[in-house]
């Protein structure tokens, strides 16, 4: 059959974007995959899929990019995509503090659901809104350093650093694949960083709700 020879790429990488609602995940993907930016766009429901072909070091890479909805309710659905992802881009919005605070929550999700050794990068998006900036570059960089992951500040609108960020992630995955550290193998930065995470962030908001049965009602 012709199918096997139809293969027009050297590697197939699976990427996933996560982060709070409206930080610009879909816009980053549209910029990277289609070089498009729309000021008005629809919120992502559940999970979306995009494809991008590009070349690094003479290797043709076919990237499957999964775009997730930011709302917590979709976590059950999106969890299974964490398991498939070789690389994850975690996005916050530099103009909204809570989206930065939640980065630790998203890292915990990756720890819970992602494969061991998944490559992660952190993106502070919307640098075009400099006057509304709430999170300094230094803060973003510091958090990334703590978790031993690469950090980029981007603008999907002005096309700043978007390709660079995706390329960095692809490079990391490629390096890992070429060094024989296939999926589900190799050393993990996330495991280590996750340990730090627990040490440094003892009171995650999500944990405060569940689990405990004290104060149960009488009916």
């Amino acid at each position: 059959m012709a199918r096997a020879t139809d293969k027009k790429y050297d590697h197939l990488f699976q990427l996933l974007l996560c982060g709070d609602s409206s930080v610009g995940k879909t816009c980053l993907i549209s910029r990277f995959a289609d070089n498009e930016f729309r000021h008005t766009h629809i919120n992502t429901i559940g999970i979306d899929f995009k494809l991008k072909l590009f070349t690094i070091r003479d290797k043709k890479i076919r990237m499957q990019i999964w775009d997730t909805a930011g709302q917590e309710r979709y976590e059950t659905l999106t969890a299974q995509y964490y398991r498939k992802a070789q690389g994850i881009i975690l996005v916050y919005d530099i103009t909204r503090e809570e989206t930065f605070r939640n980065v630790t929550k998203w890292l915990r999700n990756i720890e819970d659901h992602g494969v061991k050794g998944v490559k992660i990068i952190l993106i502070g998006n919307k640098v075009d809104l400099e006057s509304e900036r709430k999170i300094s570059t230094r803060h973003g960089q510091k958090l990334a350093n703590q978790h031993n992951i690469k950090f980029f500040e981007t603008s999907a609108w002005k096309d700043i650093n978007v390709t660079e960020a995706f390329t960095e992630l692809a490079e990391q995955i490629l390096a890992k694949v070429e060094s024989g550290g296939g999926r589900d193998r190799g050393s993990s930065s996330i495991r280590e960083s996750a340990i730090k995470l627990h040490e440094q962030q003892p009171t995650p908001a999500t944990k405060s709700h569940g689990g405990c049965c004290s104060g149960g009602s009488s009916n």
């Binding site: 609602s21 008005t40 629809i42 999970i47 076919r62 309710r73 659905l77």
Partner: protein
């Protein structure tokens, strides 16, 4: 009561209803294995009124009907064979509405129907009316105005009371509701308006003032620490919905949506607000707005500053209550882990395995999981897959069934996959299939495309409903 119900199902001489499966035990001949849809259709011709527009012709190659697209999304139907039963054209149009009328129960009902002469065309609702009684001058056989007019008359009679027969209304509505009576009909089908015409005005007033009280009771809580995340999510989502429709870009509309969604969410903590529920308000809002604006104005581009505040309040309240009714039937789509969606996607998968094994294997072979594309279909009731006007037409049928948004919807999804089966099978890998399924080429779909889809869904539902065993092998 039981008597009344069973007499409905067996009204007259064994009349069958659109969208209603007959118990298999009573009609063993109707098993899909022994009957084609065409055969079944002949058997059930009496389910459709001869004079009213029906769906049955859509799936039958022998009926002499042709669709003639007008380009504006509306369509004319002409007979190329037998002429319609009416020899003379009786024109009936619905009175233009006034902004000052408070309730829609009377003006939208039979009392609003008037006879007029040949000049009636000038008064006929255009877009919102979508009755489309105009025919190209060169087409002497265009009989759709008669069919539509008769249908409208039937609606008029039913809505006029004194007590609207809900089952008759459902039967009539399944194949599409004329837009001039859609608002009232939807409210009746939702169970929001009482069937007794004398109680409608009073009910509307009560519910509308009740909604105002809910705003007072809940809306100030949007800044409370435990609720502010919910409100923030709503506030982020509302401006992002339907970017192509100017109506929803107006801040006055967005504020209405924020109130509706926040209050609903406060009253339904088991699910709370989930992204996508915002989309579900839009059909109600547009249909109820259309009711108050004159027929030649398109609700989707309407400038709401032209509308009195009191009218807008009524539209908001009515949309809220009807959204609540709609969500009652599908709340498990939005509770933790969204079990309703999981179940419906599984059901879709089972149906497809049964009706299109080749497509099903193609998806499996390429590792396409139904949840990957159908999650959104269930979560947003296909609202991202169709133009709003098509969604509204589909909702005519959903609202005509007791649990249309839960049950019929899955069959519509199945019919959609069937419709694109060969195209999906022509895509040769996971990527191509997913990209196609996420961007189904439905943007140019016309009313008759939607009708065909619904006819197919009806057929499938009929095959499977009350016969779950069909799903097991």
């Amino acid at each position: 009561m039981a008597d009344k119900k069973s007499s409905f199902w067996k009204r007259g001489n064994d009349t069958k209803l659109p969208g209603r499966a007959q118990p298999v035990a009573n009609s063993p001949d109707l098993r899909p294995r022994s009957k084609t849809f065409e055969e079944y259709e002949k058997d059930t011709n009496d389910a459709w009124d001869d004079e009213a527009e029906d769906l049955s012709h859509l799936s039958s190659p022998v009926k002499p009907l042709e669709f003639n697209h007008t380009g504006s999304g509306e369509f004319d139907v002409k007979f190329s064979g037998k002429k319609a039963p009416l020899k003379s054209r009786i024109k009936e149009v619905v009175k233009p509405r006034s902004h000052t009328t408070g309730g829609m129960s009377t003006s939208g009902g039979g009392t609003g129907v008037q006879h007029s002469g040949s000049d009636s065309r000038r008064n006929a609702p255009q877009d919102t009316g979508r009755i489309r009684s105009m025919s190209p001058p060169s087409d002497p056989f265009d009989d759709i105005p008669d069919r539509e007019t008769i249908k409208l008359q039937k609606f008029g009679k039913l809505l006029a009371g004194p007590n609207t027969d809900l089952e008759q209304l459902r039967k009539l509505s399944w194949s599409g509701i004329p837009s001039s009576v859609r608002a009232t009909t939807w409210q009746l089908l939702c169970g929001y308006l009482p069937v007794n015409i004398d109680r409608r005005e009073e009910t509307l007033q009560r519910k509308r003032s009740e909604y105002l009280k809910l705003i007072d009771q809940y809306y100030h809580m949007r800044d409370d620490s435990i609720h502010k995340d919910t409100f923030r999510q709503i506030h982020i989502d509302v401006p992002r919905m339907n970017p192509s429709i100017p109506l929803f870009q107006q801040s006055i509309v967005q504020e209405c949506f924020e109130r509706i969604l926040f209050i609903w969410s406060m009253r339904h903590p088991a699910s709370g607000y989930v992204q996508g529920i915002n989309d579900l308000v839009t059909p109600f809002f547009v249909v109820y707005l259309s009711y108050y604006i004159s027929g030649d104005k398109n609700a989707e581009t309407y400038d709401l500053s032209l509308l009195p505040n009191s009218t807008l309040n009524m539209i908001e309240a009515d949309s809220f209550w009807c959204l609540q009714k709609l969500l009652e039937g599908i709340q498990d789509n939005y509770t933790l882990a969204q079990p309703g969606i999981q179940t419906k996607v599984m059901r879709l998968k089972d149906i497809m395995k049964r009706i299109d094994g080749s497509l099903h294997s193609h998806l499996e072979r390429n590792s396409v999981d139904y949840l990957q594309f159908a999650f959104r279909w269930m979560n947003n009731l296909l609202m991202r897959e169709f133009q709003l006007r098509s969604v509204i037409r589909i909702w005519d049928s959903y609202l005509s069934e007791a649990d249309g948004f839960a049950t019929l919807h899955v069959f519509v999804c199945a019919a959609l996959l069937l419709k694109f089966s060969s195209e999906i099978q022509s895509k040769k890998d996971f990527q191509e299939i997913m990209i196609f399924l996420q961007n189904l080429p439905t943007s140019a779909w016309t009313d008759d495309d939607v009708q065909l889809l619904l006819a197919e869904s009806f057929k499938l539902k009929y095959m499977f409903a009350d016969a779950p065993g069909h799903l097991q092998n």
